[in-house]
Symmetry: C2
Subunit: 216 residues, 2 copies
């Protein structure tokens, strides 16, 4: 009997991780509202675990900026206002730009093919008006590039910022721009030429242009 290969990642899911993932999801999609007070005992019973894994998950969410913990007082879901986009995007653009620059020297043909396929699907989703799928594909596109860059700091920080950005998208119902399709193609062309400076520049624009439009 053939054994499924997926067991190569036998990282057992601890209660803490389950709680973390669930709470993050709820905060991002708005199930738990901004400003809402979170009491660990309530969450614990609601999620069927004890308070310890809940507390640990909350600490991680605090580091990522999803909740605010006041030691000895209370912990609340952080508020969001429209200016938050302008706080998240510039660092994200800078880091993604570095990722693109590093990736340009390391990328292989297989990944380039993957980027082409993903951008095809992305284009279809955008034109079909399926913004949920489009956003997911957009993230896959960018994530593939970050992974090529082989930098754990970039990976971790971009992932955190992406999660925060996703939360804002949910709240403001932001839809992916058609212009992204073409920018992705330009990025792929730059990768094929292993042109890191152009790749970095395009990536930065890809994030910052929507921000500028937003404020005009």
């Amino acid at each position: 009997m053939p054994i499924p290969k997926d067991f190569s990642t036998p990282v057992r899911l601890t209660a803490k991780e389950r709680v973390f993932t669930q709470l993050q999801q709820w905060i991002i999609d708005g199930t738990i509202h901004p400003g809402e007070k979170l009491t660990d005992s309530e969450l614990a019973t609601a999620l069927g675990v004890s308070r310890t894994p809940v507390r640990e998950a909350l600490q991680l969410l605090a580091v990522q900026g999803f909740v605010e913990m006041q030691p000895g007082k209370e912990t609340r879901v952080t508020m969001v206002d429209k200016e938050d986009v302008s706080k998240v995007i510039p660092p994200l653009a800078a880091l993604e730009s570095v990722a693109a620059e590093l990736a340009a020297s390391l990328i292989d043909e297989k990944t380039i093919s993957f980027l082409k396929e993903t951008n095809e699907k992305f284009a279809q989703a955008v034109l079909a008006g399926d913004s949920y799928t489009a956003l997911k594909l957009d993230e896959q596109f960018h994530q593939a590039i970050v992974e090529v860059a082989q930098n754990p700091y970039l990976l971790s920080m971009i992932s955190t910022l992406q999660a925060n950005a996703r939360r804002l998208y949910y709240f403001k119902a932001i839809v992916p721009a058609e212009s992204s399709i073409e920018q992705h193609n330009e990025l792929i062309l730059a990768f094929e030429r292993r042109d890191k400076d152009t790749a970095a520049a395009i990536m930065k624009k890809n994030f910052l242009r929507p921000l500028e439009e937003f404020y005009n």
Copy 2:
């Protein structure tokens, strides 16, 4: 009897925070060696607290990349090798560059004066060969700029990367370059002109040039 005003920030420091700060310090200065196994019960008795705050502190250190946790197995201090500098600096340079760009539009005269004073002291320390003081002043210089930028994401991420960089400096006994003095001055001049593009460019160079020299 006049009451000290500092009580306006009465954030009581929890056991978790004390443990976190202590462990981070020990890892950075090498008191705890890379690859060393950390058992929470040992640390708990050594630090005079229970396992809970130790575990919580370790989780935060794991997020910052100082320790590696394998669920159900063990927790170890992360290894460091000479390539790590090339992993930390590029993201740090990118974020500091964004901070400089944002700060250029927001900076006031008082902060500019502070930067001038700090760079004076920095120059003295460098020329006196007091690299410990020099590094501390260099960090103060950069931190002041980051605070002006008013961006919590930048603040948090740069602080994490700085801590990792500091650890590498300890291991490799890196000393601040004399060229930094002049670059700091150029940066201040750019700030006085509120020239954000130049400020961003200088800041990036300030971090990346030492890295290039390192690999030639």
